[in-house]
Structure formats: C-alpha cells, structure tokens
C-alpha cells in the first residue's frame, strides 16, 4: 500500500508513508501515525525529518543508496522525539549538528533548565523518553554527532558506522539511568569515537573504535542533568590506534588515547583489546569537581600504547577505589594497582586536524538483509549483557566493516 504524495500534512496520519523526494521527506514526520513506518526510497534527500509520533520506524530502502545530505546548511538529518523510535538502513552526512538525534527534550520541555557550573537542577529536567533503536546507519561528517541519544532511556545503537564527527561519532547523554546498549558499531575518524556524558547504566560492547583522536570518553559535567556518570561497562571492544591526524581536533586537545574516563563512578573496563594508542590506552582523571571512583580495569589485552594506564585526577577531586587489576603494564603512576596516588601524566599537544567536512568518506557497507513494510516493535525495556560473558575480541573485529 503506497500513500505517497496523496495529501497534505493535515491529512489523517498514515501507517505507511513512502518518501521519494524532498517535499515528501519534509512532510513525512507529520504524516506518520503512531506505530507507523516511514520508508525512504533510494535517492539523496535534503532537509530534516522530524518525527514526534510514538512507535515509528524510519527505514531506508538501501543503506548506501538512501543518503540524507545536510549540505553543511541544515542542523540535523533525523530528529525523533516519540517513544520507541527506530532509525535504520540509511546514510546521513554533512549536517551541522547531528546525523540522527533521538531526544527527550522537545519544544514543550527542557528549555532553560540547566544551571551551568553552579549545578544542574535535576528536578527541573524533563522526564526521559523511553525506547530507541538506531541500526545499520552510516553517519559521516556531521558537525557534532553522527548518532546522538539525549535524555532518553532503554535504547540500542548497533551495527552502525560513525565517522567524521567533530565531537563524536556516537553520543549518549543526560540520562540518569540510560539502560542503553552500544554494540557492534564501527567508530573511526572522529575527534571522539564514542562519548558518554552524564549517562549512567550504559554497556559498550563488541565495537571497533579505531583511528579517532580518542576512542571513548566517559565523563560527567554540569551542562547536562544527572551527573555523575555511573556504572559504565566497556567490554569486548577493539579500541586501537586512536592517533589519526586527519580528523577533527578534539575540543579539549585529546589525542592518542584509547579510553578517557573523567569524573565517573563505577566504570568497568574488561575484555577489551586496547592497543596502539600513542599516548595512553586508558586515561583516568577528574572532571570539574567530579572525582573518578570505583573504576575497575581487568582482563584486557594490551600492546603498544604510550602508557597503558594513566591516572591523573586533580588534587581536589582525587577519587577513591580505582583499581587496575591487569599486570605488567606501563602506568603513571608506576606499578599502579588499587587506590594509587595521582601520577604526573599530562596530555601532550595534539597535532593540527582537519574540518569534519573534509574527512574522507568511508567505503560502503552492508545494510539490512530484508527491507519490508513492517514497522519495528520495540520492547518497553532492554536487557544488557553481563560483562563477565565477554571474551577479548580479535584485532580484526568488524574490520571488514571498517
């Protein structure tokens, strides 16, 4: 059943909205019904698809053949604010802000509620919106984030490629208990591959995070609600060679770092392959007055990092119960185990980078095997795997997809 081009945005919401041109692309979000499907046919589209209905699926007919191009003029490619929102099987590039933004903050909620460094008022934060799935999306050369989940819970981001982000390829932020799973993605050629900020209860597993300036950052701050970030699990990933010069510069000058943990509580780093990061495999620090605490690093494979682990919190937020259980590593302070004193590591000056708009586009990659007209039905909550269930991946994890 095709209803494309048969009415205005005032018509009754449709279960299937087919998109074949820019006008239909612009209107599709206002035409789709709760539980409906927006099916985008092959082609290049410009503008923004804004979707507020619940249980909507946005699906490209071909991951590499459906291209949303912001032309460095449009803010975001897809913005979803409804519950249980799915985006899949398309490419989104050249947007000034985000390729795909799944947000719980709308025009009716959330404006002007932060309080900056004096402290956020959690009671004023909008309620999080549950449910999202972003998969088989190629997000390249977007001005902030390729895929951005903000003020959302119960989400899965998997099987995507994110490159050329001037901040990060994938970002999860502002969720007190995100219950989010970031798995089996490739993140490369961005300032940061993956970033979590004030995002608790997130599991990062099975990803290939290579050739960025910094692979993963997990941090806390006062620009978003719900700090500090707690209970991050980083397990079973390849986090390697994050020394790529021809990438956007990191806002804080980071370079050559596998994982940066700043002012978070209860981070677990296990069963990862952390190799070839020229400055530090893992860097642990404070963030503003958020102290690093209860970090556990164990059972990882290490090699050819400048330092394997650097621990350098500020004197006023030194943290406690941080443990490195892997042995035989190069660390600062030396011979780091549990509850170390602060080392002297300082980030070396990073090389000059390139604009996000000038990062080369990656090769095409496989999309959904079957593209049909059935919307996804997302669960009310998601299950995250137990970190003890992971093995250290081979170095070529997802290499064929990178």
């Amino acid at each position: 059943m095709s209803l494309a081009g048969c009415g205005s945005a005032d018509a009754a919401p449709q279960q299937l909205v087919r998109v074949t041109n820019d006008d239909e692309f612009a209107e599709a979000g206002s035409r789709v019904a709760d539980g409906g499907l927006i099916l985008i046919e092959e082609g290049t589209y410009h503008g923004t698809l804004q979707v507020s209905a619940d249980d909507v699926t946005v699906r490209g007919a071909d991951r590499n053949g459906v291209v949303l191009d912001g032309e460095l003029e449009t803010s975001s490619g897809i913005v979803g604010t409804g519950e249980r929102f799915t985006v899949e099987n398309l490419t989104v590039r050249n947007y000034l802000q985000n390729g795909v933004l799944v947000t719980g903050v709308t025009d009716d909620s959330g404006a002007g509620v932060a309080r900056g460094p004096d402290g956020y008022l959690p009671d004023a934060a909008p309620d999080p919106v549950p449910g999202y799935l972003v998969q088989f999306v190629t997000a390249e050369n977007n001005g902030l984030y390729g895929i951005y989940a903000f003020n959302r819970t119960d989400g899965v981001i998997r099987d995507n490629l994110a490159t050329g982000g001037s901040d990060s390829g994938i970002y999860v932020g502002q969720c007190e208990s995100c219950n989010a799973l970031v798995e089996n993605n490739v993140m490369q050629w961005s300032a940061v591959g993956l970033e979590l900020a004030n995002a608790s209860d997130v599991t990062i597993t099975g990803n290939r995070i290579v050739e960025n300036r910094i692979g993963i950052t997990v941090l806390s701050n006062y620009l978003e609600a719900h700090g500090p970030t707690k209970n991050t699990v980083i397990a079973g990933n390849v986090i390697a060679h994050n020394n790529a010069v021809e990438t956007p510069e990191h806002a804080n000058g980071a370079f050559g770092t596998g994982i940066g943990i700043a002012g978070t509580v209860g981070a677990v780093v296990t069963a990862n392959r952390i190799e070839g990061n020229d400055n530090a495999g893992v860097s642990i620090a404070s963030s503003e007055d958020f102290a690093p605490a209860d970090t556990v690093i164990e059972n990882n494979a290490w090699g050819d990092n400048g330092l394997d682990v650097a621990f350098a919190p500020s004197p006023t937020a030194a943290g406690e119960n941080n443990c490195l259980l892997d042995e035989g590593l190069t660390t600062d302070p030396a011979d780091m185990t549990c509850d170390p004193g602060p080392g002297s590591y300082a980030q070396p000056v990073a090389p000059v980078g390139v604009s996000f708009a000038k990062v080369p586009l990656p090769p095409e990659r496989p999309g959904l095997e079957n593209v049909d007209e059935t919307p996804r039905t997302l669960p009310g909550t998601i299950e995250r795997p137990d970190p003890v269930s992971f093995d250290i991946p081979d170095a070529d994890l997802l290499e064929a997809s990178s």
């Binding site: 947000t103 002007g112 900056g116 001037s166 950052t217 956007p248 806002a251 700043a262």
Partner: protein, 213 residues
C-alpha cells in the same frame, strides 16, 4: 572532553571585561526554541567557512582617550588578522597598521613592525578570533543554558550568550541575520563588532606570515 558549548562561553568571557546595561531589547529574554538554539549554535561555524571576513571593531566610548577602533580582515583558518587600528577619541584618532594572532599584536607597517603587549582596551581585540569556530555548538546543551532570545531589531535576531555561572549574567549579545553573524556587542555599548560582508577582505600582507610564524 569539554562540551562544544564551551566556545560560546569563551566568547562571553572575552566580553566580560566590559560591564553595564543598555539597549531597547528585552533584558530578560525568552528561553530558546529548538530552532533558535540551532540558529545560535551554527552561526559561528558559518563564519568559519569563509576564506576571510572583514570586521569593524569599536572598544570603549568613542570620546574616550582610550577608545580603540579597528578595521580588520580576519583569516578564520589560520587565526591571523590584519588591518588598521585607530587609537584615541574618534575626532583625534591616530591610525596605525596592525597584525594580530591570538599570541601576537604588532603595529607599524612597512618594515617597521613592533610587537606590543596585550593590555588595556587592546586586550579585547583577540575576540575577533572567537567569532568563528571549526564546528557548531551543541544546540541541545545551548538550549538548556541561560542563553536567551532578546528579540528582533533592525531585522536581526538578537541573542544573549550563555554565562559561565549559568545565572543570566552575560552581557554579550550576538545579532544574527538568519544563520549569519552580523554583530557582536555588549549591553554596555563598550564593545561593538560589525561584520562587513559588503567589503572584500584586504590582501594579506607578506608581513603576516613573517610575524606570526
């Protein structure tokens, strides 16, 4: 790991030297809509896409002996600028050529360049390098900040920038023509920077590279 909104705060901090209150726009302003947040977030990146742009800068009261006026071409990629600096009350001002980078400030010209200290009113001039960034700000976070839409005047949308304290104390305003920066000023009237899009950038003097290497 600093959030992108930090660069907007840097612009605010650079204006914070200059205090006071004036203007016919709303003082309190309104919280930003998502569209306004994006408009503000993208503006300085838009300026960075130009090879060079021309600005007119005025620092201090035009009748004051410390008044500075400058007409400068800014290279947003290399972070260098060159042009003419006028010192003193408007009717008595003395002109000199100027070359600037964030680290350098030299006056003179024609083989007689002299490095100067960043001090007094001149210390405000490097703000021209904060007018552009190599990436947009984060609109989602900007909307949660104390940045406000103050209204429309002269067909320009006027925004108060976020403050470091998050308490609405910023005095710097950005005037936008769509996504394009037209003006940066303070509510005090002590600083005004106009983007002159009608004038071609001045040729880059050879001395720029010699002095800024």
């Amino acid at each position: 790991m600093r959030r992108a909104i930090g660069s907007a705060l840097a612009l605010t901090a650079a204006c914070a030297l200059l205090a006071g209150c004036a203007g016919g726009l709303s003082e309190e302003g309104e919280a930003l809509t998502p569209e306004q947040a994006e408009q503000l977030a993208n503006a300085r990146f838009q300026l960075s896409t130009l090879d060079a742009f021309v600005v007119e800068v005025s620092v201090g009261d035009t009748d004051d002996v410390e008044h500075l006026a400058a007409r400068i071409t800014v290279d947003p990629t290399d972070h260098v600028a060159w042009g003419t600096l006028s010192r003193g009350p408007e009717k008595l001002a003395v002109d000199t050529d100027i070359i600037m980078s964030p680290a350098l400030y030299a006056t003179g010209g024609e083989g007689a360049w002299q490095a100067q200290e960043w001090s007094g009113e001149a210390a405000t001039l490097p703000i021209v390098f904060s007018l552009s960034t190599d990436r947009p700000e984060n609109a989602s976070l900007l909307r949660q900040s104390d940045a406000r839409f103050l209204g429309t005047e002269d067909d320009l949308d006027v925004f108060r920038l976020p403050s470091e304290a998050g308490d609405g104390s910023a005095m710097s305003r950005l005037w936008l023509d769509g996504n394009r920066i037209s003006r940066l000023d303070t509510t005090t009237g002590a600083l005004s920077i106009e983007i002159d899009r009608d004038t071609d950038p001045a040729p880059r003097p050879d001395a720029v590279d010699e002095l800024t290497q």
